[in-house]
């Protein structure tokens, strides 16, 4: 057993992710301007602001309620491609989490994996399509492997965040095969995928929170 994660830590994670996408808003939109339609920053900032507003009015006491509420709020406030995708990610996390007040590493890993499966179910992305999948998939693989080696959760999350950022950077040379960027064909190469950048922030903020909170 390599540590437990209280519900507050998960809420703190969402808070931190909200802060990050808000501060990185212009950067995310810049990336989306090059190969998309210049709204990813606005979409993520709007969505996470709605999420935190929701949580202020009603903070769920179990992980499943928490993530379902986050997912539903994203689905109903973001729109575009990232709304259904991040929304489904959290909805699926909620469905697997169960009515628990705290996670252990395995439970968190399972929930994240379910979330990623939800993104794939919704968007049919495969490795190398130049999407958020290319940041999340290697991150969760690294997380699973680290936990399997008995690495403490916080450290495992660090490894996962590093993998997400590596995955994000690896999208640069790729020619997009999913989403708007695919309309550009060859012209999509040479730019980072905006969604992989926001996903890298998602994993990095998780690592930062866990390093602080996990007992």
């Amino acid at each position: 057993m390599n540590g437990t994660i209280p519900l507050d830590a998960l809420v703190k994670w969402l808070e931190l992710f909200r802060t990050e996408v808000t501060e990185q808003r212009a950067y995310l939109t810049e990336l989306d301007s090059a190969i998309g339609d210049a709204d990813h920053g606005a979409n993520m900032a709007r969505g996470m602001a709605a999420v935190m507003d929701k949580l202020e009015t009603s903070t769920p006491s179990t992980a499943d309620e928490l993530f379902k509420s986050v997912g539903m709020t994203l689905v109903t406030s973001v729109g575009g491609a990232s709304g259904p995708l991040y929304g489904t990610f959290f909805l699926r996390m909620g469905m697997t989490a169960g009515a628990v007040a705290e996670f252990d590493g395995a439970a968190l890993a399972a929930a994240l994996r379910a979330g990623l499966d939800g993104i794939v179910a919704r968007g049919k992305a495969e490795a190398g399509d130049k999407t958020m999948f290319d940041a999340l998939a290697p991150a969760l693989d690294a997380f699973d492997a680290a936990l399997a080696d008995g690495t403490p959760i916080a450290a495992a999350a660090e490894v996962a965040a590093d993998a997400a950022e590596a995955g994000r950077d690896a999208t640069e040379p790729l020619v997009a095969r999913k989403g708007r960027a695919s309309y550009l064909g060859e012209r999509s190469a040479g730019h980072l995928d905006p969604g992989s950048a926001s996903s890298a922030l998602l994993m990095r903020t998780l690592a930062d929170v866990l390093s602080e909170f996990v007992t």
């Binding site: 939109t29 301007s33 090059a34 190969i35 998309g36 339609d37 210049a38 709204d39 920053g41 606005a42 979409n43 709007r46 689905v75 109903t76 406030s77 973001v78 729109g79 575009g80 491609a81 990232s82 709304g83 259904p84 995708l85 919704r122 968007g123 020619v175 095969r177 999913k178 989403g179 708007r180 695919s182 309309y183 550009l184 064909g185 012209r187």
Partner: protein, 332 residues
């Protein structure tokens, strides 16, 4: 950024307020950002719902009215609306004969409408059929892309299928017609300038004074190729040729739209249509109906697109049927 707006975050809400003030025959649900007909169509008729990101006006709110749409869901600028909006519109607009969702083929739009369909079916039990338009020949329709974008044909489809629904055809027939129209039309667009998304505050891309983008969509995204700026005659050729290469339009009459991207004045759009008409005639395309103007736009982008649709007597009859909307109006 120079725009006639207040707060960039409030553009959609403020614009909806203007639409409500300008059109007494429309009803706007500000909470859900849905534009409805003030007087719904008769019970037992299929309802047509469309929606998408804002910034394409008059599409879609400007096409709500007798003979065309029953409701339009407005998303943020260039961001598809959310499933709850579509579900609400579906419940409210349904007259007991089912609802056709008209979706432009963009990953976001498709996924949000999918989720809406799932919700609507499960919760409200309304019968929903969906047409996804994908007429943009600038994009290869392959596993290497998200598929062709839905552009100009969406406008013609909303008019023609809207007339069929007004006639009282059932959902199956309305969907079949929608599929026929979508399969019979092709579009191609170009840009002289980028556009500026209010929330972004600056042009989405830089385009030198001596260059233009060929094969753009309607979201200010760069096109397939950046080529040297050319005259209207040459531009017309670069738009018309890929359309005619993709589908045969010589077998019957056709409906042609020369659409402005939002920042190009009408005198230029008419000039462009003159060039397009010459090319179509040379190619043996018989133009039976024409639209020239701003119908599916990309904010303040300067540029235009060409849409050609294979028609027949039935389609022309439906095209000529009365329509009363902000963006298209005739026969009543």
């Amino acid at each position: 950024m120079k725009k006639l707006i207040n707060d960039p975050e409030a553009v959609l809400a403020d614009a909806l307020a203007g639409i409500a003030a300008a059109h007494s025959d429309l009803r706007v649900d500000f909470t859900n950002r849905i534009v409805y007909r003030a007087i719904p169509k008769a019970d037992g008729k299929v309802a047509l719902i469309s929606g998408g990101g804002s910034g394409h006006e008059p599409l879609h709110g400007g096409f709500v009215g007798t003979g065309m749409l029953d409701a339009a869901c407005a998303g943020e600028v260039f961001t598809s609306p959310t499933p709850d909006q579509m579900q609400e519109a579906t419940k409210v607009a349904d007259r007991g004969a089912g609802v056709l969702h008209i979706v432009k083929n963009y990953t976001g739009d498709v996924m949000n409408f999918e989720m809406a369909g799932e919700l609507a079916a499960s919760e409200s039990g309304v019968e929903v059929a969906t047409i996804v338009t994908n007429d943009d020949v600038a994009v290869q329709d392959s596993t290497w892309t998200a598929g062709r974008r839905g552009v100009g044909v969406t406008v013609l489809l909303e008019k023609i299928v809207g007339a069929a629904a007004e006639e009282g055809r059932d959902l199956k027939a309305v969907l079949a017609l929608a599929e026929k129209i979508n399969g019979s039309g092709r579009s191609m667009g170009m840009a002289l300038t980028s556009c500026t998304v209010p929330a972004a505050g600056k042009p989405t891309f830089d385009l030198p004074d001596d260059m233009m983008e060929i094969g753009v969509g309607i979201h200010g995204e760069p096109g397939r190729h950046r080529v040297p700026l050319a005259g209207a005659r040459e531009i017309a050729a670069q738009l018309v040729e890929p359309i005619l290469a993709d589908l045969d339009f010589t077998s019957g009459p056709s409906i042609v739209m020369l659409n402005g991207m939002g920042g190009s004045p009408l005198i230029e759009l008419y000039l462009m249509y003159g060039e397009v008409a010459k090319l179509l005639e040379k190619a043996g395309v018989k133009v039976a109906r024409t639209l020239v103007g701003n119908y599916i736009t990309s904010l303040d982008m300067a540029g235009c697109s060409v849409t050609v649709l294979n028609a027949d007597d039935e389609i022309l009859k439906l095209w000529d049927a009365p329509v009363v909307t902000g963006g298209l109006r005739w026969g009543a």
